[in-house]
Amino acid sequence: MATHTKTASSALFDGSLLSRAARDAFRKLDPTQLIRNPVIFVTEVISVLVTILGLRNLASGAPAGFALAIAVFLWLTVLFATFAEAIAEGRGRARAESLKRTRTETMAKLLPNPADRAIFQPVAASALAVGDHVLVEAGDLIPSDGDVVVGMASVNESAITGESAPVIRESGGDRSAVTGGTQVVSDWLVVRITAAPGSTFLDRMIRLVEGAERRKTPNEIALDILLAGLTLIFLIAVVTLVGFARYSGTVLGVPVLAALLVCLIPTTIGGLLSAIGIAGMDRLVRFNVLAASGRAVEAAGDVDTLLLDKTGTITLGNRMASAFIPAPGVTERDLANAIALATLGDETPEGRSILAFARDRHGMAPERPEGAAVVPFSAQTRLSGLDHDGHSFRKGAVDSVLAWLKIRSAPAEFSAAIERIARAGSTPLAVAADGRLMGAIELKDIVKPGIRERFAELRRMGIKTVMVTGDNRITAAAIATEAGVDDFIAEATPEDKLTYIRKVQSDGRLVAMAGDGTNDAPALAQADVGVAMQTGTQAAREAGNMVDLDSDPTKLIEIVEIGKQLLITRGALTTFSIANDISKYFAILPAIFVAAYPELGALNVMHLATPQSAILSAVIFNALIIVALVPLALRGVGFRPIGASALLRRNLLIYGLGGIIAPFIGIKLIDMLLALSGLS
């Protein structure tokens, strides 16, 4: 991850953030906004009611202290809830501000005729339409999102990714997408604009980070319904209590009933719910992943099948030479020499690994001879090599080399070696010199260190990993075994991926995948969580519901963990909030009925000082617990890959049992403080 995001996440709160959030907390008291949150809205309505009553008493000279004290803490309950949301939003806003600075008005060089770079007219970037062609030269900011039509250039994308090393963008292929707001460092590009003004990647990103496009996720909606239902149930219980109390010969004041209701309705989770959601998105942003919606983050927690590309995710990007196997009658030295010469012109990472292997293991490091002609790899011959002084050296796929040698069947010993290499999951290359079969190179896929353990972890979380590779079945099976994935798709075409995803989804499973190419787009769109690489094509970036700015497909695993963490935090605080109710009954019920039935004082198990201090302590605890849990809501409850049963036991113990016990202690402490300070 880039460094600037680390510094941003180092402090959970800082001064300016807090003061801004405090101001926003008051702005959010607007009932038309607050009505989206039923529990806190009810609390606000009740706060208004109690305040009016308290003030009326004050004006008429009746005792008003208790009612006003209750009113103060009811208001604090509401304010702490809006503050939690404001502070969660504030953290995203800082990032959005820095993004906005890159969105300054730029001038674009509009090409009336894309073929002719010489003639362009300067226009404002905001005036560009989809389909326009623009020229971007070294030092220019790319005016809007687009596809490179002509040219190749290095582009500094640090504005988006935070990564300062420039990346190559070129026409055609999977590296043709450019993002508005990034800067061309060298060379030039002709870009066809693909995004209308205001809907560029940068704009979307700013809106996402700001939370402007935040909608309630399906799980949030369901939870809201539960909380609204609970609020109604307790509303019925408190309103009917008026009748029961009247029968019992006691009149319960509005402040007392208000206190009981607010303590019973789930204000803790109601107050923190949206903060948890925003913080979850924010964690992803800090992790340099942008999610199109909270729904996508939630889906990430639910994912139970991960589709992972072999290359770059499971194995190190490139295959490396791991053995040279001579054909019958060829010495190792001659083979190594032929291999080194055949590879001299091969600049690919694989070629370099072969040269390194020849040098390190066989002491063979020939210089390129004078006048030697490099034969580049071509799609027709599928061979590459070197011609020099009448000698020719070639290497390539086994059948291509045999075809070049015009040999119908290779020696049995050689074929056996090839088969053994393939079965081990490696790739065999054949090498020939001057019409003679010299031997084979084993190119091995190196499984990333530690990835096997990660997959075992995922399995414990109930997530199935599926490796996707273009390799044949035998090779794929060998690497799958070595990496410890649960399943693999060999010789995979983009359609295969799509079919596999549909099949798994029809069983009720949720699938996540990462991809960057245009032909990945349908599968990315079909997957429940499709993570497009920032470096990928525009089509891929639009198809996925997340974009990884670091373009690291391995991050899929962490994305799933962040999604789970979000859901766990929500569940933990809901459980905690509901479990809190038990103790509040023991605090409030004896206090409000003690006038009617003094014997009910026996239920005052906490031995709270007076009825007033008991009710006040419960209300104060109820308000303070929200603000006390804000850090947890923002940070999230830790996720451990220990399997659902163990995780449930652990969290139920902490947040369920803890939720029952904690308020007993908290209310008692507050009551003692009130008694000490003589307030009650």
């Binding site: 239902g229 029961f244 109390a245 859901l567 019920l589």
Partner: protein, 569 residues
Amino acid sequence: MTFSGWAEILLVLLLIVLAAWPVGLYIARVTKGERGFLHPLLSPIERGFYALAGVDPQHGMSWQGYATALVLLNALHFLMLYAMLRLQFYLPFNPDALAGMSPRLAFNTAMSFVTNTNWQAYGGETTLSPGSQMWGLTSHMFVSAATGIAAALALSRAFAQGGLKTLGNFWADLTRIVLYLLLPIAVVAGIALVALGVPQTLATHADATTLEGAKQTISLGPVAFMEAIKELGTNGGGYFNANSAHPFEGPNAWATMLEAFLVFLIPIALTFTFGKIVGDRRQGYALLAVIGVFVIAAIAIAYHAEAAGNPLLTALGVDPAQGNMEGKELRFGIPLSALFNVITTATSCGAVNAMLDSYMPLGGMTSMFLIQLGEIVPGGVGSGLYGLLVFALIAVFVAGLMVGRTPEYLGKKIQAREVKLAMLAVLILPLSILGLAALSLVVPSALASLGNAGPHGLSEMLYAFTSATGNNGSAFAGLSADTPWLDTTLGIAMLLGRYAFLIPVMALAGSLAEKVKVPPSSGTFPTHGLLFVGLLCGVIIIMGGLQFMPALSLGPLAEHFAMLAGKTF
């Protein structure tokens, strides 16, 4: 409390579970349309019914279809029963020429028997003729029980597979339940009760001369078979006003044990049926364990409260060793009374063999609290299971997030629609119980019905609406229930408690049935095992019970602590 007392209680419970196991599997089998051992005898009758009614038992119904059939049939039965009760005077088997019921009492009674409540605002043998008792009440005990079981089956099926469009055929379910389950057991149990001394005759009374030479008229009637289905279908409406405390309804300890056994048999059996239908027996065991926790805890509290006796009486020199025997039959004693009482209130049976009004405050509160939890541990036949499943869904939804997935129960994802329907159903309980009880406590005409003042009066009123809403039907007694206000409001409470709960549940079943069934993995929230049992118990207490605590603390709790402090009202 004594060892032999507990041994008696646990033995009965153990026998019930052992018998319920095969019965549960049998229910799953016959309601699926598979052949049981009674098929050679009864399947021609079953086919005859289908042919007569033009029903294709294979034809599946959507949730709307299923719910409509269920509600329409119940409405029809309500009208039939209402007419029968009003016109009793003109109908046969009325040797004592008893007059028809008043409109409001007929409304209350018809609602009571159609909803499986069996609240008895009427006087039993002195109000109803043998004819009305037989085809009026007894036949509806079968229909209302079968209705509940059918609805529970429909909800269970919704969990069985993914992508289901239908929940089964209501007519076939109803026919099979009555024919293969309720009738055979009721017949056998009825004969057993006759053997134990329960009368079954069309004569309405026997004349006897007492030892002192006085003339006495002893009421009789077709009691035994009504008694059998009264217990088996968790109905609870006794032939006699005194219900199972009447010597002809519960002549001895054996008959009482048999009755307790019958009450629990089907509610417990249905947990095994559920496990069988969803294809995972452990799911049923978990529900059974939750039921076990509540039942045993309730028996312990009630037994303890009654056995300890009334401290006020002890202070007056009454021997506390006998416990609180007021209102209890000497032939049963405290353990059996406590067991019977918990069993009939834990289920929605509502039969009583001792008068709750005379229980110690905590003993009575235990019963009331069990009903307020929603009649779900184990509740009425069928209605208990679907109620328990609603709470299981809520429990999974609340805590399920803590494993890091959106919650799913038995592979079915719980989303906004399911939460909405579950909360809608659960909301009915406090609305009807607390709402109507609080209202009745401030309406002067209703207050006149109370037999006691102070917190005990509050308990009487709260209990009445609790019992009606929970479709239990037992009474705290002490309340004169046949008044215009109470007949009407209690009738409404029964209606709400049954259908306002049932219809959201049917919609829930429809919504769940359509969903894909996600195969379980190690990341799935486990809904069997001790952890889930504990969680579900906690959620039932906190979300199903706590809202009643303020009202309860002004009733039985106030009375309890006042009693400890030596105060009476």
